[in-house]
Amino acid sequence: MIYFKYLRMVVKSMLQYRANLVLLTIGQLLSVAGYFAGIALLFARFGSLDGWSFGEVALCFGVVTAAWSLTECFARGFDVFQSTVRRGEFDRVLLRPRGTILQILGGNFEFTRLAKLLWAFAVLGVGVTQSGVEWSALRGLTLALMVLSGFLIFSGVFILGASVCFWTVEGLEFINIFTDGGRELAAYPLTIYTRWIRRFFTFILPFGCFNYLPLLYVTGRSANGLYALTPLFALAFLLPCLLMWRSGVRHYQSTGN
């Protein structure tokens, strides 16, 4: 598949700068470690968060971090799309007989972010053992689905943000409110937030659908099996993102030489 051939190219390019690769990876490892240590300290002091134990929050945090690092690694091209447009490199994408999304995905990987993924799995391990959840096949499956769904939803947000670049390449920082801000917010169970924030992050940007809602089922707070299926909502969220991208591509104005 052509996607993997792109991937091989990025790996080859990256191996040209080995020291850089090692340092970036270490940096990524440290950043998550520090962050999670902070949460652990808070819990050592306060015991629980609105009825959620440390192990349960670790599950929440682990899912978000895993989904986020996968997105940063594989959907990186949409994250840095602003500069792709500024440098006029999108011209070249349009000159190749392949889909634009495939090329943007394939043109950019940030493997150093996978270091974060290792951490996310470690935190998930803590969550799985410390949360007191009685694990069943269905609950385990739900957990895997949550990570996958989070990856798709974060990718959708990246695509939305990138689509805006077709109309303007200025003042795009506000998108970080939804990506970075949303990620921070979703690292904790949504129940601790006020009502309109909960609604926003359930129905508009459905971050709640891949961690808070299914966690209700996984942790046994609700017996309703429908909660286990909320991660599938990600697919419905991707659709408008892709439509936005398509209309953006049609609107593309290129840049002069």
Partner: protein, 264 residues
Amino acid sequence: MIELKGVGKTFKVARRGKGTLAALQSLFHRQYDLVRALDSVSFRVDEGEIVGYIGPNGAGKSTSIKVMSGILVPDEGDCEIMGFAPWKQRREYVRQIGVVFGQRTQLWWDVPIIDSFELLRDIYSVPQPEYARNLELLTQTMDLSAFLRTPLRQLSLGQRMRAEIAASLLHSPKLLFLDEPTIGLDAPSKLAVRQFIRQINAETKLTVLLTTHDMNDIDALTDRILLIGKGKILYDGAFSQIKQRSGQSAVEEVIAELYREYAL
């Protein structure tokens, strides 16, 4: 091969005054200038022709190449190339063309040229025998063998341009757009590039449309020029005629006079 009828394109450009205050103002209140980049551009090019596309900076050369290669959608007019409307059937269309932007690369910066070529082969789904044949021919005529295994970033500008042109021909396109292919090249590289374009045109009937500021390119490659200025086609015909008319001997002088004549 190429037929443009009344193609027009207008850009909206944000206007901004000098200084910090003006920058702040532009945050809230934008003023736009409308720039008419292409103004009812019409011409046709037949199969196997080489056409020199000339005009001063900002005249609309790159914009028209972008329209013809399917990157930009024109506001008005018709553009039909090999039976395609370039921006409508983009994927089917771009498989048939090659595009070289002299100031931008299409190769991967950090890997050997040959690796880029192989990825391009896969992107364009070129069958292996055809790829091998093309690579062989291009390596010989463009003299690439010495640096096929060198990463792009270590090549000289001349080597790079040869690799760029070769890369755009690996999938056997029928039409090649060259946007300033000789920019910044030294004399031997320029000669090599020109020699190659002539040869490939003669051998494969490849249609070539090139923009350039170096009139010696035109002199060496073709007699047909298209002069564009302020978005309009001003002259479409033989370069030799213009030379005769002006009586100047140096090509640069001829062109300078031509630009003066049309107040460009």
